[in-house]
């Protein structure tokens, strides 16, 4: 079971995972906001700055639309790994959008979209502070029970 949390003052649902950007040789842990309305996962500016993403080396010219309008995003191959502690790791190989740097968006969390979420069954119960996901599939599963 991949366990998340309801966070901050907002009650927003978060799940933590490890992001790898192999081409850039960059990795880091991310608190992803679970967003079933997002077609794809996206790395937001605060996480990009924290991880030292070199914007001048990014590729792709993707436009992401939201309620606030359209923003330019780069696209990068990513591997995101989630943990069922001491049981298994679930790795997803996908193309993540990386939002262009924008100070106005620094307080917005990176989003875990349906490119990953569609492969899970999720229990979403904020009344009982229960956010749990069961992975139906992953691009690679690491069994942690085998020594």
């Amino acid at each position: 079971m991949i366990t998340g949390r309801f966070g901050d003052t907002s009650g927003r649902p978060y799940i933590e995972g490890r992001l790898y950007l192999p081409r850039l040789n960059i990795s880091g842990d991310i608190s992803f906001l679970v967003d079933t309305g997002a077609d794809a996962s996206i790395l937001m500016p605060s996480d990009s700055k924290r991880l030292g993403i070199p914007f001048d080396r990014l590729e792709g010219d993707n436009v992401c639309g939201g309620i606030g309008g359209e923003v330019h995003c780069f696209t990068e191959r990513a591997v995101i790994v989630f943990s069922d502690p001491n049981i298994a790791l679930y790795a997803y190989d996908l193309d993540i959008d990386i939002m262009q740097d924008d100070p106005q968006m620094e307080d917005v969390s990176s989003l875990l979209g349906r490119d990953a979420l569609d492969r899970w069954k999720i229990i979403y119960d904020p009344q009982d502070s229960c956010l749990q996901a069961t992975a139906h599939s992953a691009d690679m599963i690491f069994d942690l029970t085998q020594k």
């Binding site: 901050d8 933590e16 192999p22 997002a38 605060s46 700055k49 924290r50 942690l144």
Partner: protein, 91 residues
């Protein structure tokens, strides 16, 4: 050149699992200590590492500067802007 495999990318699974558990515990402080955090750090950025707030700042750039000064690994630190009246997000 072909793509690097997932196995090559993540390295030792057991180490990654332990690190993710630690990061999750640090992030969970944002939920469990929220009243304390709002009272002490309202409208400031904070950095959580080793189960405690290690630095705070008025801007993300200032906070990251302090994180670097303290030699806290950026890839493992939890950062968040604390605001009792966080703006409503429609994502």
């Amino acid at each position: 050149m072909g793509q690097v495999s997932i196995k090559e990318i993540i390295g030792d699974p057991a180490s990654l699992d332990a690190e993710l558990q630690e990061f999750r515990q640090n992030a969970s402080l944002l939920s469990s200590k929220r009243d304390h955090l709002i009272g002490k750090y309202s409208k400031r950025w904070i950095a959580i590492y080793d189960h405690q707030v290690k630095a705070d700042g008025i801007s993300l750039n200032q906070l990251l500067g302090k994180v670097d000064e303290l030699h806290i690994p950026r890839d493992r630190v939890v950062i968040r802007y604390i605001d009792k009246n966080a703006r409503r997000m429609i994502l």
